[in-house]
Every structure is written in C-alpha cells, then in structure tokens.
Symmetry: C2
Subunit: 446 residues, 2 copies
C-alpha cells in the first residue's frame, strides 16, 4: 500500500460521489490555523516539503483500490474510477521557516475537486504537526539567547517519523544538532550525544567508564556526571579530561548534567572545571528541559553552554497540536464558506501581505499588495510538479531569522506571549459579507 | 537505511566502547514509567508488538555502518564490529492491553550489553507513545459508558505512523472503528466516516449534497448537518433520510454534529428525527471531543449515540508523553542502580505480581509469587525470536476489560483520578538497600 491509504475514509467516499456527479471542476482549499494556542506568540511554517513529496508521489494503485473497497465493504469495481488517480493541481504555500499567524493560509491547493479533497488528511497531518514542532523549537532558540540548543527527543516522540520531523523542525530554526542518527545523516545536520547512565553503571566505577569512553573515541568527549554523586562526578571527569591533554584543552569537550538543580550544579561544575585548568570544557544541561526551563537558567546566569531539549519539545507538550483547518474556499469559480458557529471560514483564494513593519494583511490572491508589502504565499507546485528545487535547511533558518527580527517583542516572549493579529483586506471583507448574505438568504428561503 | 539508524547517537558510541572493552556479558534493562501523569489513574500497556518487530528485524547493514560513520566523522572501518549485528536476546514483557502502574516494568530486555544498549531508543519510543495513546483512549471508553467511540485523529497526529498507532491503541481498548483507512484495513478494524463541510459546500445546497451522497453510497449513510444552520440541516437530513426508506429505517444511518452546544443540539436533533419517524437514525458527535467532554455529555443525558474523538485523543493532549525510562538493572550477574537525585532506580530483574484484589507487588524476577497473585511479565522473545504468535486486538481488549474491572473506582475516574501504587517486595527492598549501600561506600572511598 502507498501513502494513498493514509487518509480518512470520508475523503474516499466524497471522491466517489464527486466522480459520480462529474464534479471535477477546480476547487481551492485553504489550510490555516484558526487560532494560536495561548502559549504561542507566532507559528513557524513547516511540513511543506514532505507534503509536496506526498502530492508529487501520490498514485492510487490496485492495492489502494483494494484497501478502499475492503474499508467500504464494496466491490473494487465500484472504485475503479479512482485507479491511477494522481495529483495534477497547483499549490501555493508559505515557504518553510517563515513566521505565520492565526488565519493566515499556510497553503492553498487548487485542483480538480476529487484530487483536492483526497489529499486533505495527509497534507493537514504534515503541516499541522511539523508547524507545531517548529514553533515550539523556535521558542527554545529564543530562550537560549545565543547558546546552542540540541535535540534529544527521539525516544519519546510519537513514533520514529515524529522524531525525524522534530529533528528537522529544530534544525529549521537553528538547533545546533540532533541525537537522531537517521535525521542527522539524511538531513546533513550535526549528530550529537554523550553517554547514558547505564554506560557508567556497566563499569566498576565512573572513572573507569570515562577512561574507556575516551579510549574508544578520539577527539573531544563529553562525560555524564550525575549517575551517583554529581559533584564527585565532575571531579572525576575533570581528572580524566585533564589527562587527555590537547584533544580536550582545544575545546569541544564537555560534561553533561541531567538531574538536580541544574543552575546550582552548573555553577559548581564550572568552578571545579576552572580550578582544574579546564576553562574550555563546556557544560551541557539536559533532563526535562523546554523553553521555560531554559529561560529560567539563562536569566539566573547559570554557566550552561549547551541546552539539550528532549521530550517536552519533541512532543510540543504545552501545545501538542494546532487548531488547523483545510477548508474549501472556492469551487468552479464560486467562492464558498461555512457558517457553523465559531468555526466560520472566509471564502476565496487568499494571499498574505507582510508589511515592512511586520504587520500582516490577509487579502484575496488577486489583490494588489499594499505599498511595501510582500506576499507570503508562493507557487510551489504547478500541474502536480514542483516549480522549484527543494528548500534547504539553511534557507529555512534565514527566513526564520529575518521574520523573527521583525516580530514585536511581546510575540517573542516565552511567558504570556501576545500574538499579533493579521487584519483583513477590504476586498476580502466585502467578499465575505457578500457570500454570507447569499447563504443566509438561501437558508432562510429553504 | 534500516530502522537501525533510528537511534540516538550515544547508543552507537557506547556500543563501540563496549565492543572495544569486550563488555559483552548479559545485561538486563528494565523499561518502566517512573510516575504517572496527574491526569491518569492507570496506564494501558501498548507498543510491544511493534517493538518486537523491530527487535526481530534488527540487522546492521553496510548502509547503517556508513550512516553511523558519517554521524561520528569516523572512517567506516572504525565501526566494522557493528556490521551484521542482530538482536539475539530475551525479552519479558507485559502483554498489550494490560493495565500497569508507576514503577512496574513494561518490558525487560536481557541480551549481550551492546545489543541491549543499542535498542534503547527505538523500544522506548514505541512503548512510550503507544502506552500514552492507549491510556488516553481507555479513558474515552470509560467516559462513553457503553456508547461506541471512534477514532478520527489522523489529520492531526504527529505524522502518519502516530495516526496508525492511535487507531491501533483505540482498537485495543474497545473503540468501534477508525477513519484511518490504512489502519482499518491493515488491522482489520471497522473503517468509519461521514462527509466534510467542503462536500456540502461544493453543492448548490445541503439537500442536493445529501442526495448525491446517498446516490453514490448504497446502504446506511450519515449526513453532516452543521455546515450552515444546524437545526435546518437536521430537517433537511431527515427529509432525505426518510425518502431512502428501508436502507435507513433498518438502522446504521446517522447525522453528525461537529460544532456548537453538542448536548443541546443533540437533544433538538433527536426530537426532530423522532418526529420525522426516524427513531433508528443515530446521532454522532465530534469536534474537539475527549474523555472530559464525553463525560459531560453522557452525564447531561445528551442523546448522542456515537462519540468521534480526534486530535486531543490522538496526541493525548493533556499528557502527550510518559515519564518512562530504560534502565540498566543488572550487568554480568551484578545488580546495578543509579542514585541521581529524584531519579534513583531499583536494581535487579523484576516481576510484577498482581493480587486477586488487583493489588500489585513489584518484586524480583525469581521470587515466589504471593498467594493467589499472577505475574504480569511473560517471556515474549528468546534468543531474538518471538516465543509465541502475535497478540490479537481482541486479546488486548479482553485483557484490558478484565484488568479494568479489577481497578479501584477512583483510578477509573476521568477527573482527579487516583492511581493505585504498587508496593515493593521484601527481597527487592533488601537488594536495593544493599546495592545503594555498596555504591555509597564506593563514592565515599573515591
């Protein structure tokens, strides 16, 4: 089976009906976050590249049809029109790494209705969780105030794919490395790591463990010091590191603190290392860290050099999902919208115009940009084919850094952030009012 | 690349050192949740089958060695001892579907130290997030008090794999179906779904949309009624359903409410459907539901027939991870433990003995079970091979139901649950004290 079956059943039943009714005119769906979680002052767009991979690779084969038929208790014959289906539409999207706000489309798909509908589940899945992950990671980078942040989350993400996505999301916003070997090698980002408590325990004592590690690994090394008694562990580590000579004194080596009062222990460790003549041995802090804990440590002046974040960041624990939607906004040239209480959507193909001061206006795709404003959504796929090359992580980092610099300070705050709100353009407001009025008349007449 | 590279880098660096030092004696690692999230009164063991698939399929090939070498900036030659490595160890584990508590091993691996260490990241990842997912799903089943619960989470899980795992976890504790076609067909569970708001909007009006859906799909149908005006939507649905005759009146059809005051709307919809002579048309509620919302609806007497849960359950939003650990407890016949503040672990291979009243005792693996108690951990893999056949979802459901019935009511509570605590056996307490004393003496002597 291909990715085609990674879909909600209703996409398939709707497509069957569209095909039966010959409803294959172009439809535009808009994917956006209705609102930001309270804990977020901004979002970082992510997940587009994997979504484009899915769209360009989508091809419903006989096995997929068989699966759909089984799921529906229908003969495969009833689904024959789906066989061979590919995605042949256009996609406009905000490039990965850019900052986006509530209501701003991250992506718009325009394709024959059955295709545009069928891809909803997978595309939403990719953009939702990866944007959540990148937004969380961005806050860690802000909190660390220039100190390197690295990703140790793989062991507790929601599966290996989620671990890969978390490593990628971190790298997009400036993480210095990941412990995830698959992600590091596939994405070309630094692989990082020290040792586990089990390693220390497998030896007769800490000193023997540290020495053995240094024997196996030339170059800089990092020792975990809190298996038994942290202060004693630092002394032992310092003794062994000192003996290693230039390979340590030249930098890149460290000790890792993974439990206890990290701020106080870092200060004590720093003093011990300095006293031992090891000023270039760094301190890595880990153990339940997230942007809140990092901010506290940085503000307290803790001499931590590198922050290793894990579970809480890898699952975006305080906001593990976004309130995203994939909504039909136009079908066969007709703008459409939904009126459901508290979930109303605005009709029409859209664009986001970012002003020179970072103020955003959500307008219609064919509007003239306001003076000095640049459009966020770019054409990334035409007729089912990518229009450009893949984005690089470096480009993502540049976009993120540029957008972050233009963001108001209260949006960058770790605690009680205030997210800017995009305004709605005149033409979009007018269209929304017109479509709403039209639907209300219809409902009243029914 | 195989699953072998889905690992933290430090597993590889430690393994290189173990091999260099000829430290290949048997080691036992114990995987357990240190504590339960405040929002949980119990956990449901899950993730074992995929973990066993990983262990039995693990095989480090040349591409994996290449990836490790790249990650470490070492020549592949330095990693030649890893080439061909497979998992040849034993695994004892709690079968999927059983209820477990804090501190109780979900799984113990006994294997040559390098192998037992290498598999940490992947095995932890599987058991952690799937146990979290099953535990969340179990609470939905309890809250629904006999009403069917179905999984609609795929679009906002942390990737497709996580969506599959969520569907499987739900089925393990009694969910009636999933919208996820891949999961439904692969796992043999019912696929369910209705239609999206976009479907309604693509037609000129609701009535036309409902009629078209019924044309495409014989048998029972379910109509989404809240796209424009919910009450009007119910009336329209009732009109169309009525015309469909026996295929609807024989049951299985429904209407879905996805927004607004679900309790009040369900009551109004029920009245309208009954007045229309459609007593067997059910009401499906969805839209941000979780066990808390379900409990409120059930307690208020809302006439909802089926609860469709999505995002909040699929990501286990209120507790998206567990505080699990994979700890070395024995190496080369020597029991070991960690003393780190607040993260101390107990040494030795363990067993959990469940008493007839559901009281649990954590003891040593070779202890005699207390009178009438049964051991939770079973041997599931020997010499790298499964000892039995795969468990079925039906067996999981039976285990879960049996264990749930024996659980104290306060552990089953949705709000402010109180988790039972396992007690520690005499022999395990004695061993823990002895090992701690021995380590403290060593540290003091250093």
């Amino acid at each position: 089976m291909s990715d085609a079956t990674t879909t909600d059943l209703y996409e398939v039943t709707m497509v069957m009906s569209y095909l039966r009714e010959d409803m294959t005119a172009p439809a535009t769906f808009s994917l956006f976050a209705r609102d930001l979680p309270d804990e977020r002052g901004f979002l970082v767009a992510a997940g587009l590249e994997p979504a484009l991979d899915y769209l360009s690779g989508l091809h419903i084969g006989p096995e997929d049809v068989e699966a759909f038929a089984t799921a529906l208790h229908r003969p495969p014959e009833d689904l024959r029109h789906l066989l061979g289906l590919r995605f042949t539409g256009d996609v406009r999207a905000v490039p990965e790494g850019r900052i986006v706000l509530a209501g701003e489309p991250l992506l718009e798909v325009t394709a024959p209705l059955p295709q545009a509908q069928l891809v909803e589940t997978f595309v939403l899945n990719q953009l939702n969780h990866q944007t959540a992950a990148a937004s969380k990671a961005a806050r860690c980078v802000i909190a660390a105030a220039g100190h390197p942040v690295v990703d140790f989350s793989l062991r507790r993400t929601h599966g290996p794919q989620a671990g890969f996505a978390a490593a990628r999301a971190g790298a997009m916003v400036g993480f210095a490395g990941t412990s995830n070997v698959a992600a590091a090698t596939e994405l070309g980002i630094p692989a990082v790591g020290t040792m586990a408590h089990s390693y220390i325990e497998a030896f007769a004592d800490e000193e023997e463990a540290f020495r053995a590690f240094a024997r196996a690994h030339p170059g800089p090394v990092a020792f975990l010091v809190d298996t038994y008694d942290t202060e004693e562990g630092v002394r032992t580590a310092a003794r062994v590191l000192k003996e290693l000579g230039p390979r340590v004194s030249e930098g890149g080596s460290g000790i890792r603190l993974d439990s206890g009062d990290l701020g106080a222990l870092a200060a004590r460790a720093r003093a011990l290392l300095d006293d031992a003549g090891l000023p270039r041995v760094g301190i890595i802090a880990s153990g339940g860290l997230d942007e809140y804990a990092i901010e506290d440590l940085v503000r307290s002046g803790a001499p931590v050099d590198t922050y290793a974040v894990g579970t809480r960041v890898g699952v975006s624990a305080d906001a593990p999902y976004l309130d995203t939607a994939y909504k039909l906004v136009e079908y066969d040239g007709r703008p459409v919208m939904k009126l459901s209480s508290a979930k109303a959507t605005a009709p029409g193909r859209k664009q986001v115009f970012r002003g020179p001061e970072g103020a955003d206006v959500i307008g219609l795709a064919d509007e003239q940009p306001p003076d000095g404003a640049t459009p966020l959504l770019e054409t990334v796929m035409r007729n089912g084919r990518r229009t450009g090359r893949r984005t690089t992580l470096e480009e993502c980092r540049e976009r993120f850094t540029t957008d972050l610099d233009a963001l108001p300070p209260q949006a960058r705050r770790i605690r009680e952030p205030v997210a800017p709100r995009a305004t709605v353009s005149g033409p979009l407001s007018t269209l929304t009012a017109r479509v709403r009025h039209h639907i209300e008349e219809q409902v009243a007449a029914a």
